[in-house]
């Protein structure tokens, strides 16, 4: 296979670059070792930062977030819920930080408005009674799955080829140029070569590992963060703790749920990252200082992501490391057609993509301007079903008797599954229960996949999408993927639910006895 540009990594950054380059008329291949948003882009908080969080420690990142946030709200409004946000301090929080906050914001051009306490409780009744200061900012919530799916979909319709479950495994370097990249199909094991004029490493937290394959060195820091999803939404706005960035101090609403996090723990390895019981308990006790309800509410899921941070000098505290991004041209180190883009934020993904694409164009001698600042991102069906609450609305509106619900928790009908399956096949993606899960709310409701998983597998057999014993493997993989996020949250009702799940999937089906895992 051949392309002008090969992009490695299908997170927000990689899909963003593919859209940017595609809109400039450049022909690209995007390879991803798993599926869209398998890395940090699928494990983040979904906060479109107003910048206010960084005004104290990282003014540059603050300005960048403010600027980018404004652009994304304009060009991709369907991926955003423009909630607004509050910064709240409770008794005992650092007085000096609170006092400096408004000036720090204005220095960075980040709007922050003082809110009277009485008004604050009216806006957000769940705030702790001992709240002492509140500012209103322009935070918003962003659906990262929709964002990446729409980026990809726009790129795809402009000629980009997307290869999921395709891992870059090695580089053939001749005379200081990458001649081809060896990729492996992670499902069939088959290897092939992709030739490209230019190669972009957008592998996020894996950027260092990938660069190493080409003999290049990047100092990456892995900072793991865990988050909890509440069963129902508890505030209208994003709620931030007004203090130096720390653990469990942001609550982000998204559709029908709220997400509280995060932690920040250094990890050495990127394998088997999952939220732990200790993290969960810590997040709850910290979060409850701001919103006491968090101590009692039901949680449906926990998840973890690893932040790709680039260390330019040593720092003991990962929150002190800049959230700015690193664009590294590897020419100085001896490879002419290879660039790494990593670090940064979801909020700044577009800017990262723009800078990378500008750089690639310059290297290729192509002069085409970036369009992503102004060209709206089309609202397509491929990203449509990730939205909480959309499926029920559509179902109630269009429900015909033949369109039955396969997932009752999130009210996802057969027709939605059909459209997700055909968009996966249309983008020549790998069709699996997990890839349907990534593109929809399937398995995300209170039953966490107990019923819908088995129903969708049956339906996929009916449609001829599964053969042989694939269904058994599909159920095992999907339920285990959901399990990672359930395991640390199993008390009260979720425990009841998980017992039913085990009764069905082990007690009745005996899936734990199927060895072909």
């Amino acid at each position: 296979m051949k392309a002008q540009v090969l992009i490695i990594g299908g997170g927000a950054t990689g899909t963003g670059i593919s859209r940017d380059l595609a809109l400039r008329g450049i022909n690209c291949i995007l390879v991803e070792k798993k599926d869209i948003n398998a890395g940090a882009s699928g494990g983040n908080h979904g906060l479109l930062h107003s910048g206010a969080r960084y005004v104290g420690a990282d003014p540059e990142a603050a300005e960048e977030c403010k600027h980018e946030g404004d652009i994304i709200k304009k060009v991709a409004p369907h991926c955003i819920e423009n909630t607004g946000g509050l910064f709240v301090a409770v008794a005992g929080d650092d007085e000096k930080y609170i006092a400096d906050f408004p000036q720090n914001c204005s220095k960075c051009g980040v709007p922050a408005k003082y809110v009277d306490l009485k008004d604050a409780f009216e806006l957000e009744p769940e705030l702790a009674k001992n709240t002492i200061a509140v500012y209103m900012v322009e935070d918003a919530s962003v659906d990262p799955f929709k964002l990446s799916l729409e980026n990809l979909s726009h790129a795809h319709s402009n000629g980009t080829i997307y290869l999921p479950y395709t891992k870059a495994e090695g580089f053939n370097i001749e005379n200081g140029r990458i001649k081809s990249v060896v990729v492996q199909n992670m499902i069939t094991g088959e290897q092939k070569k992709i030739e490209a004029d230019y190669v972009v490493n957008a592998a996020g937290v894996w950027a260092g590992e990938l660069a190493k394959l080409a003999g290049m060195k990047i100092n990456m820091i892995y900072s793991k963060g865990s988050l909890l999803v509440t069963q129902r939404r508890i505030t209208k706005r994003v709620i931030n703790r007004l203090r130096r960035a720390s653990d469990a101090d942001i609550l982000v609403p998204g559709g029908t749920v709220s997400i509280i996090g995060t932690t920040s723990i250094r990890t050495e390895s990127l394998e088997s990252i999952y939220p732990t019981v200790e993290e969960v308990d810590f997040i709850i006790s910290e979060g409850a200082q701001m919103l006491p309800l968090l101590d009692k509410i039901r949680y449906i899921r926990a998840y973890s992501g690893v932040r790709p941070l680039v260390s330019l000098h040593d720092s003991a505290d990962d929150r002190g490391v800049t959230r700015g991004f690193a664009l590294i041209d590897h020419e100085k180190e001896g490879i002419k057609n290879f660039t790494t883009i990593t670090g940064g934020k979801l909020t700044t993904f577009r800017l990262m993509a723009e800078k990378t694409s500008d750089h690639v164009c310059e290297k290729l001698g192509i002069s085409k301007p970036c369009m992503t600042k102004t060209v709206p991102m089309p609202n397509t069906s491929s990203g449509r079903w990730t939205e909480p609450g959309l499926a029920p609305k559509t179902w109630v509106r269009d429900s015909s008797k033949a369109d039955i619900l396969l997932c009752e928790c999130e009210m996802i009908p057969k027709s939605a599954i059909d459209s997700i399956i055909s968009s996966i096949i249309g983008q020549s993606g790998d069709l699996s229960l997990n890839s349907i899960g990534v593109r929809s709310r399937v398995g995300k409701g209170p039953c966490q996949g107990t019923f819908c998983s088995a129903r969708i597998v049956s339906y996929m057999y009916d449609k001829g999408n599964l053969i042989d014993k694939q269904g058994i493997l599909e159920l095992q993989k999907f339920i285990n993927e959901r399990w990672k996020g359930q395991r640390p949250l199993l008390w009260d009702i979720p425990m009841v639910q998980s017992e039913l799940q085990e009764a069905i999937h082990c007690g009745l089906f005996g899936l734990e006895m199927e060895q072909n895992k």
Binding site: A402, Y461, D462, D468, W491, L508, E514
Partner: protein
Amino acid sequence: MSEKTIECDLLIIGAGMSGIAASFFASNRGISTVQVGMSTSLSFSSGLLDLMAVHPIETINIWDDPWTGIDALNNDIPNHPYSKIKKEKIKEAFNEIVSFLKQTGINYVSEDDKNTQIITSAGTIKHTYLVPESMWNGAVAYAKKAPCLFIDFHGLKGFSSRQITESLSDNWPNLRSAQIYFPDSFGENFCEHIARSLEKPEMRTKLVESIKPYLHDSKYIAFPAVMGMYSVKEIMSDIEQKIGLPIFEIPTMPPSVPGIRLKNAFEKRIVEKGVKVFFKHKIIRVNQDSSGEFISLLGDGSDITIVSKALILASGRFLGKGLHAERKEIKETIFGLPVYQPESRTLWHENDFFDPKGHAINQSGIETDELLRPINSNKKPFFDNLFAIGTILAHQDWTRMKCGSGLSIATAYAAVNNLKL
């Protein structure tokens, strides 16, 4: 005593498999009994009666003979609830239940008292002890690898005959599948509705007509478990006669028709035998008076008090609400009995949901003496006449050992026989 007080010999808390079995055994012995509990979990059961199939679970060692399996289990895990009951007693318990069910038209079968292999709706094979007669031909067809046609219905969720035939195809050639419209239906279908409508003969005629084109050289026909709610035998032999081939049912996800059949049969029986039932109710508090009787308060605003000489706790685990998991601890919900459990929540579950060794929390529950009476830290029973039965008991993992029904039936039988009245 006020009108709102009921006196009895025995109060059973819980109406899942163990509670209902206890109620059945007690009523057969003329013990005046009151039963309180939610009976929905019984309709969640597949209808298969597991006794013992896998031990040790971590090596997935399957026992053909459940009885030698129990010997091995008792040897390795001496505090498993089975170790407190003689094998003859377990057999007696099953016999009493099976002969009653037979009278109601629900026949249970095993071959040579051994475990049987049954096809599930997920296309897996389940090893179980007693099989409803309506499913038995499935075991025969599977053992013979006979040409077989699997039927499912448009609009019936979570059941695909194609899934089953595909999953089994590697060592079972000659499988066919067909999805047909259930007569006069379109849109969504439910097992329970289908089962009820097959009670009408004209529906069976129509059903057979729509199946005929798919028969080819099949020797058996499989259906999801929907062959009637009451007259299962008549319905199946009618259909068999019309098609001219033996048929069988495949257990489905809950709520399942064979589970509802069991529930109906038991409930009818115990009510006829004079058990006073409060289904869909809960006991919210129990005290013991000076004479040693239990005084239990019924919830939901009814203000009814039940005074009983003995009490059987059959309140299940988390699903049944007998145990409640708090963030730091697992508690027993009615008496606050001590619960055997892992030290902290970090140890409750493994990272892999399907880990064959099972999750430590599954072993948690109530510990008892040899008579199934909950014990305190000195290993002494709390009360002479308080018994715990079924899945609330510690040191068992029924989903992986495949011993759920057996555990419930055996401990119910033992507890009723251990009552001192």
